[in-house]
Amino acid sequence: MPVMTIGEAIRDALRGELARDDRVLVFGEDVGKRGGVFNITQGLQEEFGEERVFDTPLDENGILGMATGLALMGLRPVAEIQFIDFIWPGFDVIASDIAKYRFRSGGQYGVPLVIRSPYGGGVKGGLYHSQSPEAIFGHLSGLKVVIPSTPSDAKGLLTSVIRDDDPVIFLEPKKIYFAVKEEVPAGEHTVPLSKARIARSGKDVTVVTYGYMFHETMKAVEALVQEGIDPEVIDLRTIVPYDAETILESVGKTGKLVIVIEAPKILSVASEISALVAEKAIDVLDGPIVRVTGWDTPFPYALESYYMPNRTRIIRGVKKALSLI
């Protein structure tokens, strides 16, 4: 199997689906000649032509409206938003149209489309090139939100969401676009949606995470294991609709729960997972559910490293869950 980075795996998935299905169109700002500001779509316009892979005006609202209309007509648009922080000018299309089309039309119309976008911190991008707004999309009934953390999942999940009949926000952890490498299945490769991945089995505490934080969590786990703590790590993969079953099963085993995310804490995915467990499995819990998150402030530039959860913060979180501090 070829070894790929997350960025390469995403490109591989796009190339595969463009080749397989002429309903797939890839577009956004600078995705053509420039190949995207992270080079993810590099070479695709040359390979598939300007009708399949093309640049748009600088207007996310137009990009998303275009995607919606294309999807209504049976195509499979894959729209790139240059940074997820810039999606808001087009948010009405998402909140009012995309998330609700199937429902409001009584099933007459659906809008199977993918919005891909780099998200998250760690590249010194400051307030507007670092945010993690998955919670906002997740609260809009009707959308799916998917976040890969490994190259293999990046390819498999992206392929799955392009083929999925529902609209999906696919968020790509930009910090590790080219930092993590692994073997990725060549050719067709799909990973089922709404199925979490147990990345590490353990018995002492369940840690739910995703995206770049998965890797930071694994670093913390290393240290924790040294101290004799045996965590189970769940990579959530699909944020909404999430895999409640896997989480509940794991907590049933460990009795402890920590959720590690980059986003601010209030009203976050960490809060949601916590609430799920507090509602359905309070009886198996024997410690506080700890949310390890970014701070409830905008994302700072110079002090980025103070903002993002790191090994230290995660270790503290796990120890709190174990009532060790």
């Binding site: 748009t56 609202n61 137009g62 209504l72 009012s96 149209d97 429902f103 039309s105 009584g106």
Partner: protein, 383 residues
């Protein structure tokens, strides 16, 4: 009765006129040389079809208001006064073309094959609504009629229609898409995005603006400082047409012109139809607060139905007996449809959970069960 006409090449319709393009005046008299029907290549049967379609639209609209008064519909949003703008433009489309409606389009979609039961099912929120009673009255759409299902956000449809036009271009179809909105819709970013993208990609999109002088209570000059709305097309490198929206022939002629252009790959266009909303904004409005009865009355005299009827009468095609007969026939059809729609009953609550995603995920199935439980308990305990 569908037309097989095409705009005759002799017809030169110009964009960016200072005055609205007209074919017949307020009294139904031809403006300019020759009989407009002849100029447009419309036969008598076409003219009668157009008139009947406008009357139907009006009558459906009347019934909408009645249903609110009877307490059967929770809300109604009128089309009264804007029939020519809707019908004239829809008439320029082929059945294969696509329509992005706005909330005042509902009754007119009957022209495209939406049945009266479907329309009243939508207004009443019952099972004959193709969208299963999910939305407020006014939000009618039907895949069969090639009409999309609008949401309530003003102007949102424009930008989605642009995407539809992109699909048509990509698929090399000869269809076009027309997107409706009021003059208020030109203020939203969606309008801007739609026309800008349509210009860049040269899409078969027609944005049709019904300038009815008010956005609820906000008068047209507070909407924009531009002289006309049609002129906004310049910002996108497109032609913008300014037409008398109460003149069904002019509306048809202008729309047919741009539809033909778009179909031939000539790209998008903007149309501003100058018209007037004769009724309050909706059943929840009180228009006395922001406009005078005199103003409304003055426009009532320019009612597009009266105007076109006068034209037909002047051609000897219409009279009071025909009018009576037509109104009665339509009335019966409508009453019958309302009855069917009413009796069709409320949609099944379970479907709510099944049509959020293509396949219902576990949490929605669970919520569905909870609701069923709740319904049972309410029945027992009385809620």
């Amino acid at each position: 009765m569908s037309k097989e006409t095409q705009t005759p090449p002799s017809l030169k319709i110009q964009p960016f006129t200072e005055e609205p393009i007209r074919f017949i005046d307020d009294e139904g008299r031809p403006v300019g040389e020759g009989d407009p029907a002849a100029v447009l290549g419309l036969e008598d049967s076409h003219l009668l079809f157009l008139y009947e379609a406008m009357v139907r639209t009006r009558e459906i609209d009347r019934m909408g208001w009645i249903l609110v008064r009877q307490g059967k519909a929770a809300f109604y949003i009128s089309i009264g006064g804007q029939e020519a703008a809707h019908i004239g433009s829809l008439y320029a489309l082929d059945p294969e073309d696509w329509v992005m409606p706005y909330y005042r389009t509902e009754p007119s979609l009957h022209l495209r094959g939406a049945t009266l039961e479907e329309i009243f099912g939508q207004i009443l929120g019952t099972n004959t609504d193709p969208s299963k009673g999910r939305q407020m009255p006014g939000h009618f759409g039907s895949k069969k009629a090639r009409a999309f299902v609008l949401g309530s956000t003003v102007a949102l449809g424009h930008v989605t229609a642009m995407g539809v036009a992109m699909a048509l271009k990509y698929r090399k179809e000869r269809q076009v898409v027309i997107s409706y909105g009021g003059e208020g819709s030109t203020s939203e970013g969606h309008f801007h995005s739609a026309l800008n993208f349509a210009g860049v990609f040269q899409l078969p999109l027609i944005v049709f603006i019904q300038n009815n002088h008010y956005a609820i209570s906000v008068p047209r000059p507070r909407q924009t400082a531009a002289k006309t709305l049609a002129i906004k097309a310049k910002a996108y490198g497109l032609p913008g047409y300014y037409v008398d929206g109460n003149d069904v022939l002019a509306v048809y002629a202008v729309t047919q012109t741009v539809v033909d252009q778009a179909r031939a790959g000539g790209g998008p266009a903007l149309i501003e139809a100058l018209t007037y909303r004769l009724d309050p904004h909706s059943s929840a409005d009180d228009d006395k607060r922001y406009r005078s009865t005199e103003e409304v009355e003055a426009w009532r005299r320019k009612d597009p139905l009266i105007r076109f009827r006068k034209y037909l009468e002047s051609k000897g095609l219409w009279d009071e007996t025909k009018e009576q007969e037509l109104r009665e026939r339509i009335q019966k059809e409508i009453e019958n449809a309302v009855e069917i729609a009413e009796n069709a009953g409320l949609p099944d609550p379970r479907e709510m959970f099944l049509e959020v995603y293509a396949d219902a995920p576990p949490h929605l199935l669970e919520e569905m069960q909870e609701l069923l439980q709740e319904i049972q308990e309410s029945r027992q305990g009385g809620k």
